[in-house]
Symmetry: C2
């Protein structure tokens, strides 16, 4: 029997959408609330008065090679370029990627290991759809990108948070303890959203070793999905670990959203590890998953653009400058944060200890940020510095004022 | 206890993908087998010897307005055009569509009733994700597009086939009997894939009336999803019924794949009925579903193209000509089929009665078609005439030869 309060809760749900979708909207509401709060403040006080560091919308412009590719490809377009294709994507583009990836990872990667996707979000959904048995667990290292929770639940899986070190570097011992009979995959995201931390390659290698041992033990592959859309947004020389080399079941998921500034175009790809036993079955499943989830194939026009932008990335100088101003200003003001060596995020400790309370205090200064609770890391908050530098400069005194409220 | 054969079946599944994905691949295999068989025949006998009517890949070229829009939009592109946007899609494009739709349906449709989608397949997945409770039923009128089964199962729903009349027109009485406490939606697809039948507006109105009555009775909306990507591919004057008018819970799902020849570009949209009680909640849910399923938003570049192609459609003369040749040739040869008034499909009765057997006989003539069993209508087979006319002309004698084998 449901209790009275459960019945009331159930009855009060608008039947226009499903109960699970109500729960998803509730879970997603902390970002919506922030967004609405931002709009309310802007309407009340004017755009200039509000300092919005809450969104992860990459603002560095696409490189010039992209705009010239747009014009070239538009001029060359023929009817067949716009039709259905193999669900995995255009063979010529996949071959082009496979050649580059083979050289980079020193593995024999063919076009049958590459699947073009609707961004990294599309890639992760397609992978999870392909491999998750009902109730399988997917490990997430804290802090993690909130949307992973939804992606995993979309396909009947259960997200399981794994603690990391104080520095937010992976903790292999905690990871080892989290592996269990239902573990099917881990999502490793470096450079990390929300922390900006760049994982140490030796630690990622250790995770890969543990995953491979666990696969052996369980008699089925435990996958290491390396979600690396921020890979080329790094401010240190730490090498980026190869998911394909650290684990025989390592798989790369990425997109051009950040490195080319194309988040709205929904173009990315998955690279399957040629060392996976039965990789051809997995490749076939990814094609079917791409089709039946409704993607059908990654957008055709943008697939053709990608080879024209080889080697280009967005100009990092904007992010670099914002990052320096913020690290300097916030450190002086007394904030502490893990090493923000990549992406365009800082993830400081919330002065006073409670992230929601502190984000509210920042909001009183018209500074919008995101509480760490939403990323599985209460006690911290996320600052996205994908904004004009002028906004960063003007916000420093406001950050300083907010922390003053919480000092002894 | 599983039986021995169940255990063997389970053990023989490659653990590289999940058991549900193995089942999906098995279910999808009849199309793959056809495709592989086609490739085998082509490799053996040469391209010219094989007559492939198995694929629904629209081949009428996009109109010239599309190619000129590509060049214009590519030339005008600015960095902000390629960033993340509201999950529902670009406000300017949604407003443009809303104005046209308001005039057409004589309803007050705003941009908050329009969601840009990754084709109609993306739109249906987003809708089903938003409204299905676990085990909710979705009604499908036979014959139906096979992929609906997957879309429904993706989101925990149960597809339920509803018989139609001999002509494959909707049967309101059978439909009424199929409505039950778990019914959440019906997908109505006219012009129909695979039958080519254009539903009579009066019958669709009757379905709408039954759906609205059932919504009242059940105290929650039962939706009528009108999947209408073939809407502008019709060869008769029968008007196309408005989903928004036939039911207060009628919703339009469509794409530009067929009418502009852009199947690979993944661009379409959903129109919510402004008369739905709580439509603003449903609109919000569609945004979240778009995001968490990994679409995030419909491809940005193609959204900008659409308003430039207003009123254009592909040139139907190719399809029209192929259709006439086939109807004439097949009827003379003794085939019977429901009225093929739209799309680019014929769905004749399989001579001899067994569709798989007859498709095998056609294959011996190097003619590839799809058995109706895959569309919930055994005893028929699908011919897609989205192919060059020369192929159609040469295939007529082969169709005639195949039916001769099955005549008394």
């Amino acid at each position: 029997m449901p209790t009275e309060s459960e019945m009331t809760a159930k009855e009060s749900l608008d039947p226009v959408i499903s109960a699970p979708m109500h729960r998803a909207m509730e879970a997603a509401s902390f970002i919506r609330q922030m967004f609405e709060e931002g709009n309310r403040l802007r309407a009340e006080l004017g755009d200039d008065a509000v300092f919005d560091f809450s969104l992860g919308n990459p603002c560095a412009p696409p490189p010039e090679s992209f705009f010239s590719a747009l014009r070239t490809v538009a001029g060359e377009s023929s009817p067949a370029d716009h039709r259905y294709m193999t669900n995995a994507g255009r063979p010529d583009v996949r071959q082009w990627l496979a050649r580059r990836l083979s050289a980079e990872h020193e593995l024999d990667i063919t076009s049958d290991h590459v699947v073009m996707t609707c961004g990294a979000a599309g890639g992760l959904n397609v992978l999870l759809k392909s491999v998750l048995e009902p109730q399988d667990e997917v490990l997430l290292l804290t802090p993690y990108f909130t949307e992973y929770l939804f992606y995993i639940q979309n396909h009947g899986g259960i997200p399981k948070a794994v603690p990391t070190q104080k520095s937010f570097q992976p903790d292999p011992e905690a990871f080892r303890r989290a592996l269990g009979p239902k573990t099917r995959a881990v999502i490793v995201n470096t450079p990390n959203n929300p922390s900006g931390v760049v994982y140490e390659p030796a630690l990622v290698e250790e995770l890969g070793r543990l995953v491979d041992e666990h696969s052996e033990r369980m008699g089925r592959p435990v996958y290491l999905f390396m979600d690396e859309p921020y890979r080329r947004i790094r401010y240190v020389d730490t090498p980026h670990p190869s998911a394909l080399l650290v684990s025989r079941n390592g798989i790369i998921v990425t997109s051009f959203s950040k490195e080319l500034g194309l988040a709205g175009e929904r173009i990315g790809y998955v690279v399957l590890n040629p060392r996976i036993e039965g990789v051809e079955v997995l490749f076939g499943a990814l094609g079917i998953a791409t089709r039946i989830l409704g993607f059908v194939n990654a957008p055709a026009f943008m697939q053709r653009i990608i080879p024209h932008c080889a080697g280009s990335t967005v100009d990092l100088s904007l992010y670099r400058k914002n990052r320096e101003i913020l690290i300097d200003g916030l450190t002086r003001a007394g904030y502490e944060m893990p090493s923000p060596d990549g992406a365009f995020f800082l993830f400081p400790k919330a002065p006073g200890g409670d992230d929601r309370t502190f984000c509210d205090a920042l909001k009183k200064q018209c500074v919008l940020t995101v509480p760490g609770s939403g990323f599985g890391a209460p006690g911290h908050f996320r600052i996205s510095y994908a904004v004009p530098t002028e906004r960063v400069e003007k916000a420093i005194p406001l950050f300083a004022r907010a922390i003053d409220e919480f000092s002894d």
